[in-house]
Each structure stands twice: as C-alpha cells, then as structure tokens.
Amino acid sequence: MTQRTLELTVDGVKVSVPEGATLLDACRKAGKDVPTFCWAANLTPANVCRICVVELGGARTLVPACSRKAEAGQVVQTDSPRVHLSRKLVLELLGSSVDMSLSRDFQALSKRYGARPERFGNKAARAEAGARDAAHAGHHHPGDGAQAATVGQPVKVDNALFVRDYEKCMLCYKCVEACGTDAQNTFAIAVAGRGFEARISTEHDVALDDSACVFCGNCIGVCPTGALMFASEHELRAQGRWDESKQTVTDTVCAYCGVGCVLSLTVQDNEIVRVTSPSDSSVTGGHLCVKGRFGYGFVKGG
C-alpha cells in the first residue's frame, strides 16, 4: 500500500511526512528538537503538558505538536518568541508546584528557557497524607502570591513492588493511558478532581490492593518524573546508594511464559534494580506483566 506524503515547512526547512503524521513527527524529521513530557511513542497523545507547543502559521493559538496532524503547506515555527515564552511559563508553573528533581529533561529545559519557578514564591508546605485525595473541586483558593501552591504530600508506600510519590506527579496522564486502552486495559487509575485538586486516583480512592490494579507496573514504565518508582529504586535512593554511574542496562528475554518479552535489566552491584522493556519492541510495545517486571527475586536464590 503506498502512502501519500505531505509537504510542509518547519523553521524554513521543507519536509515531507506520510499522511497521518503529527507536527512532532515533521519537526523531528526536520531535525528540530521539540521537547515532550506527556507524549510517548507507545501511547496515544494526551496533549496535556503543553511543553511541545509550536507556532503554526494562520493559527490563533500555539498548537501541541504531539497531537496536531500535519497538513500540506503548513508553516511551523518551533523556536519563535511566543513558543519560547509559552514553554518557559509551562516550566515555571510545573517547577513551582511539582517536584521535578528527577526529570533530567526538566532540568535541561529550565536552563534552556531560563525558567524561574521561584518567582511564584517559596513552595508551600506539604499536605498531610490523604488531604489532597480528600479535596473536592473548589477547595483550592488562590494564594496571596507569597507562597507557591504545590502538590506536595507524603510518599505512598503500600505494597512491596512500587511506591507512588505524587509530590512528583505532573499529571501527564501517561500512567492512566498505560493502565487503560493503550496497553493494560485494567482501568485501575484515572484522573480524579478538577483544577488544582486534580490527581491520580483509584476508583473511589481505595487502596491499591482493593482496586482493580494487577501490579503490572506499566504505569511506572511510562512515568517521566519518578512519581511512580520501583520499590527497589526507592529504597536505594533513600539509602543514598542509587548510583547510575555504576549501573548497566542489558536487554534479554523474560524467563516466564512463552510470549518472549524483551526485558531491559538495570543492574547495580551485581543485582537487578529495575526491569523495563524497550518501547520499540514488537513483542511488548514497552509493556510487561507483574512476573516479568517484578518476579526476578529468584535470581538471588529464591
């Protein structure tokens, strides 16, 4: 089947992309670095983070490159002053309210765009455990400008496999999509609440074990900020022993059933500390089951 191609201009460079491609595809084809947080190759674009916005000739507003379909003859600017300003503001809003310390992309982009989240004031104190989950729409009142409101709250540690540190959650929806129709189809989690009270929640905010969760960890696999983290990594970080300079990543095949899922084993000090799967694997699409992702304890002698 031959596919029609479209021609458009990105930063003055003509590129052609197949019909159905997004502006992000076109920008990358033109060699332009368009940043993303909520986009992933193996997920449907949620287009919520707005870091990928570009200027499209003739459009009133900036458009999200990750989900806007390319059309013939479009003129796209990826680095105009408007794009610059908008990305800077997105970074500042995120940086003022969310703990983005584990996102290397965020650090690099903040530098590139000169983001100053501190201009919104010092971060407000953490909420008590459960307080944000109990909040209803309308609870949030605009502050006095002296303090920046945050999503700060204690880490949720309620199972042996992974932790949920929602202080680091930027609401990119990736975990929701991986739990939903894009991969796992378990629908254990969704975004609950509105506005600043929006958060990731199980049905009726029940504990993870009482929810539909099957602990596949596909949510962790897609999390860009470290809000969802392997218990093994969380413990090592808490002990100050997490050391990426001592880690190797090796691709192999899962030891359980016959599907042949590719596993990427992160190893530190001769111990497996994290298991993921490459998103371009035709077998897994980057997703695993609970055994493949967490069931490696037998290697150490079960």
């Binding site: 199972n159 042996a160 496999l161 129709t181 991969a183 796992q184 189809n185 993870l208 074990d209 099957v214 602990f215 596949c216 190797t248 090796t250 691709d251 192999t252 095949v253 899962c254 030891a255 359980y256 059933c257 016959g258 599907v259 042949g260 899922c261 590719v262 596993l263 084993l265 190893v267 001769n270 111990e271 497996i272 371009d280 694997s281 035709s282 077998v283 897994t284 699409g285 997703h287 695993l288 089951c289 609970v290 055994k291 493949g292 967490f294 069931g295 490696y296 304890g297 037998f298 290697v299 150490k300 002698g301 079960g302």
Partner: protein, 528 residues
Amino acid sequence: MEETDLIVLWGSNARETHPIFFHHVLKAIHRGAKVYVVDPRRTATAEWADGWLPVHVGADIALANAVAATILEEGLANREFIRRATSGFEEWEAYTRSHTPEKVASITGVEPSLVRRLARDYARADRAMICWTLGITEHHNGVDNVLGLINLALVTGHVGRWGSGLNPLRGQNNVQGGGDMGALPNKLPGFEDVESAAARAKWEALWGRPIPPKQGLHLTGMFEAMAHGQLRALYVLGENPAQSEADKTRTIKLLAGLDHLVVQDIVRTKTAELAHVVLPASVSFCESEGTVTSSERRVQRVRKALAPPGQARDDIDITCELSKRLGYDMGMPAPKQAWDELRRASPLHGGMSYERLEALGGIQWPCPDETSEGQRFLHARLWKEPVEGRRAPFHVVHDEPPVEALDRDYPLRLTTGRRLDSFNTGVLSRGYESPRRLGETVDLSPHDAGALGVQEGEKVRVVSRRGAVVAPVRVDPGLRRGLVFMTFHFPDEVDTNQLTIDAADPRSGTAEFKAAAVRVERLEAPQR
C-alpha cells in the same frame, strides 16, 4: 493478531497466563475484532469475550465437531480451499456432519445457539484465529483435541494467511526453543527426524559421532520405564518433576528409586533434594548468553547481565565438561560458536546470525539463509497455485470423556491451571512478593460451596483416588456447579499434584492435569 477479525481462545486464559500476548488481543478488540472464549471457567479472559462457551471439562472434541457440523450443515465450508489444499475431507465430513450442537449439547454443556453463533462468525470472518493453551493439550486425548481445532481451520480455510491461523500459546520461555534444538525424543535440531538415515548422516558428519537410530522416550514414557525398572538413571535439567508431575506420590517413589539422579538447576528444588548429584547452574536469562524461541517462533537473544553466584556455571560449560569426562571433548565453545554450528546444519536457523538477531529484534523461523528475514506466519504454501508440498489432512476425531469419570464418591471435577502472578511450581515466582497472591485455594462454585455449607476462607479437604490435600475455600462465581479449580503454584504448602491423575496422551506424553475426579470434605462436622 492485531489485524485479525475474530479470535477464538480455546482452553486458554491468556489474560492471566500470557498477559502481554493478550495486549495484542486487546488491540484487535479495540479495532473491532470479535472474541470467543471456550473455557469451563468464566475467566478474566472470558470477561473480554463476545461469547463465552462454558464447555464441560474434556468435551472439547464434541464441541469442535459441533462447530464443524454447523459449518457443514449451514453451507459455510470453504469448498474451494478444501478441494485445493486438503485431504481426507469426504471421510471426515461423513463422520462429523451429524454431530450437531443440539445432539451433543448434553456432552458439551453448551447452549446450541451459542455454538452455532461461534461457528457462523468464525466461518464468515474475513480473517480468524484459533489460539489454545493447556486447556486443550493437558488431556489424555490432547492430540485429538488439537486435531479437532485444526479441522476447523481447514474447513474454513482460516490458515496460512495474514491474520488467520492456529496459534498454540507456549507456556514457558523456551519450550519452543527446546524443541527447535532437538530436545524431543524423536527429533534432531530443526525438527529433522531421528529415524531418518539421511538426517542422521548430516548431523553425524557435523558432530563426528554416531546418533542412536531410534527415538527415545518422552516424559511420561520415562516414568513408565522407571516403573518397569528399565530406566535407572536420570539427568534432569531445569525441571522440577517431583512437584510438577501428576500423581505426586508415585512420581516421588519412582525418582527416589533410581540408581542415579542428577539435577542441574539454579535453586535447590524438591527434585534436587532427591538427587545423588546436584550441578548448580547459572540463570539462563540473565547470567548467560544464548537464545530462546518464543511462542511465535521468534528466536531472540538472552544476554548476561549479572555474574552467577558461587560455583554456578553456565549450562553449556557443564554440558561440555561432562562430555569431556565421558570421553568426547567438545572443547569449551562460547554460546555463539555452538549457535553457529547449529546454523550450519539446521534448515530453520541458517540465516540467524547473532548480528542479524540483534538488528532485526529477533527472527521468526524458518530463516534458511541471510537473505531471509524469517516468516511472520506458516502454511502460506496451502494458498499457492498449485499447492506446494503435502495437502493438509482432515482427521476424524472421536469424543472421549476424561479417563476418570465422576461418581458418587468423587462427584466433583477438579481442573488445574495458573494464576497471573505465579508460575508453575513456584520455584521462580515465590522469589517476589506479589500483593495479589492468595496462596493456594480450593476454588468452588457458589452452588457447591453452599451445598457443602462452607464459607470463604474455611479450610477443606480435597480427596481424589490418589491423595488428599487441605486448603482454604475461595468461592468463585466464575465456576459452574460441579467444577473445582486449583493451581499447583504452592506445592510446599498444598500439593495439588497429589490429586491429579497420571493418565496421559500416548502420542504427546502430556498428562491429564485438567480432569481429575475429587470430593471436597469439611474438616469439622457442621455445627447444628
């Protein structure tokens, strides 16, 4: 899979046992594909189905014949395909045609209109796939079960085309690869026949040693031979038969009675505890180099990410060291050298260099040379004009009930299987803490739990003609009256295989794990 229009999952709870395969099924469902699930239990898989056919345990042949009879009767057979590409149709049709869903309903337990709906949708689909797992093969007539499903693919022509075919889902990460490498009693690497002089001559020339000209024994055949004192020494690699075989008491007796038992494994299994010699091996998927073959015939590389502990050694090193001491020095080849040797003679693997396996993300055999990228599906030859090679044969298959009939003393049907977060005898899966793990339970239908007067969590005794175990009750609304489900994941606590029957299919050697007769007893008399 993702581009097919209809999927029949027959005797497969893929949602739990092949979760990432099921992701592909889900993609097909979201594209609009219909799904039928044939399973005695209403499983997590069945919850995704357009139609669930609650077949009685062991009635798969009756049901497959009823589906076929509907296709024949309603004029839905693909006569053109049958004429061109198959053999034995007339005889098969003559036998099968009368086995209508209505006539066999008392055997299958399935509402005839549902059988007809499956038959029509399957036959009329543009592309359709039948997938199965151990619900088909773990029966004393498992081979006939498979042939029954093959008949359905042949009568409709749903084979050998993109999106259409027959798809057995392998349960272990390299059970396919073991077969590919000739770890079968009757095959050489690449599935060449041991009893073919020409095939043997080719491999003998490569290896410089004669190959025994007669096929060996499969697993259940070996236990038979042990029972008759004909097999006195056993070398077990990476398997735990002391806990995985049916009729555990008999198995242990036979293993313990051997003159010499060698076990090569990564952990001290119950089988290793019976051994005279234990050879500690490295963990193949992360402590050594090599390849495995998945269910879709995809050969992929496994790689060393960790150093093995203590004195554990790679399987290949142990094999070569043993061979040397037995008088045949193979040297100490690296895994890649052994693989390249295989590639020189196996018709399936010639083009699969390590470099190409890496570059292509694995290759699906056959891949005879380096111009081939492997094959996404098999049997396309049946659609060539004229058909290439042998025509695909229909097989008349006769319905046969499970070996152990239900009776007054053992009125319930026990069937066994896996759960999502555990695996086989638990040797691998007990090494991690799963929040979803329930431990072993005796799953009863709400009706039977009520009739016995037992509550969820109450311990009961399950008794078969071979043994008894005690475990807590779990009431599963997905079970129909008369059906009991257990796993064999926790044999140290609840040894389910004391209950199962060692009746096996003589052709495949696979035991009837899916059908034992049991009764369930309360531990204490009911309080009045």
